[in-house]
Amino acid sequence: TMLPLLLLLLPAAHGIVEHVAYTPFLTKTPVLEGLTTGSTFVLEQPRCVFDDKYSNADIWLVVALEKTATAFNNTVAPGTPASAFQNFPDSVPAYMTLNATLANYPCPKASGEITVLRVGSETSCTEDVARPTCNGPLSGPGPYMVKFLALEGSEPVAETDWSTPIMLRTAKSPNSISTTDEGHSAGMIAITTILSILFAILLAGLVAMLIFWGSDTCGGSSPFSKPEAVTVRRYNTHHVYDQPAARL
């Protein structure tokens, strides 16, 4: 009686998927400008995550929306319409892409190496249903959740946790940029006021000049004589010499 019981247990044991305690995350080093864009995001590769016993397994990336992640079934086969990129998110809850083996993710990671997976980098196969595992650009801002799934043959054998929700960037319209005047700088105000005052003074001066044309002004009690003035002949008068004599 033990034998049928053991036989019953064996298929069940065969279907257990090992849960690897690893949460996929966006690359932290180096700091990337394009970590999330409008249609792509950059994940850190799962280095030193899966045991060596999975060296024959295919490690797939499962991408789902936050709200559809729970609807994903591990038994879905990659490369079929049930997991095709082209059908996401309209008719499938998640798609599978970026398959690799443990050889692609050597452990430990060489220092200085940038180990990233860019989700959304393949733009040529977005419409090609013959390429259901296309790593195509995402069409909405998300939020998305991802996990890694290891398959041996068509059996899922290990999976990681779902990542925290990943939000992509949304772009605003340039019409939202305000270009109205932000006020005048101090320099401009200074120039305008001082020059206006100077000009006003000069105009006043001109008017004063023209009004007092010809008459004596504060220039001096006696007008300045022009160099070409009539030359006065110097002449001696008796007065000059007589005066001192008279005083004596």
Binding site: L32, S121, G187, I191
Partner: protein, 260 residues
């Protein structure tokens, strides 16, 4: 009488000196404004497209004002030495007209410099750069001008966008219409280039790995020359006008002292 004579002689000397300085400043102003009008940094297409290139107009006025100042200063020197009332009156009136024009040029340059904020250039770049649907022929020329200027700025100054490459991510743009976000998070000109003018690493550039793309914004590269241009015209003109004010007041004083 002798004392008044001496005062007038000193005033005469000062006025001649003042006019010499005005003449030289006039030539300097003309030279400076010709330099600005020649657009050594190639930024004029950006200004032209904003339909607000009054800084350019201010520089043009500066050229002619500078020349007028030089000519009038010679007239002034002759008038002062000859103490000719008519000549000096003509000099004063023409100088006042030149003063008014230069005043307009200074104020225009200063006001329109304030208008050119980063937002203006950002909006222009997003709407014009690599726009593939021009409304008419004039539009097409403007778009080509803006695109070529931006490409040149980004290549020469190793910069991207107005405030940074994220400008292309934060806002939709005419560029985004023809270039997908996944392939072109920012234009190729933002990538670090090798000697042949090709990106060193296209993947590095698309990811935004430091060293493979230009992370600085181009606003400093644009506003630097533009500031020099505007303040060069505005403040130098202001200085000349202050000096001219003093010389003109002295001339009016001198004129009223000449025997009729």
């Amino acid at each position: 009488m002798a004392k008044s004579d001496d005062c007038m002689r000193i005033l005469q000397g000062l006025l001649v000196f003042g006019n010499v300085v005005i003449g030289m400043c006039g030539i300097a102003l003309t030279a400076e404004c010709i330099y600005f009008v020649s657009d050594p940094h190639g930024l004029y297409p950006l200004l032209e497209d904003t339909e607000n290139n009054d800084i350019h107009a201010a520089a043009w006025i500066g050229i002619f004002v500078g020349f007028a100042l030089f000519a009038l200063s010679i007239l002034g020197i002759i008038g002062i030495i000859k103490s000719d009332r008519t000549l000096l009156l003509v000099y004063i009136i023409l100088m006042l007209i030149t003063f008014a024009f230069e005043m307009a040029s200074c104020i225009t340059a200063a006001t329109h410099r304030d208008f050119l904020t980063p937002n203006i250039f950002l909006k222009q770049m997003l709407e014009r750069y690599q726009n593939s649907e021009p409304a008419n022929n004039n539009d097409k020329l403007m778009i080509e001008g803006v695109t070529k200027t931006w490409d040149k700025i980004m290549l020469q100054n190793h910069c991207c966008g107005v405030l940074g490459p994220s400008d292309w991510q934060e806002y939709t743009s005419a560029f985004r219409v023809t270039h997908s976000d996944a392939d072109f998070p920012w234009p190729r000109k933002c990538c670090a280039m090798d000697e042949q003018g090709l990106p060193i690493s296209l993947d590095g550039c698309k990811l935004g790995v430091p060293g493979y793309y230009n992370s600085d914004g181009c606003y400093d590269a644009i506003s630097g020359p533009m500031n020099t241009h505007a303040w060069g015209v505005a403040w130098f003109g202001f200085a000349i006008l202050c000096w001219t004010f003093c010389v003109l007041l002295g001339t009016m004083f001198y004129w009223s002292g000449i025997e009729y």
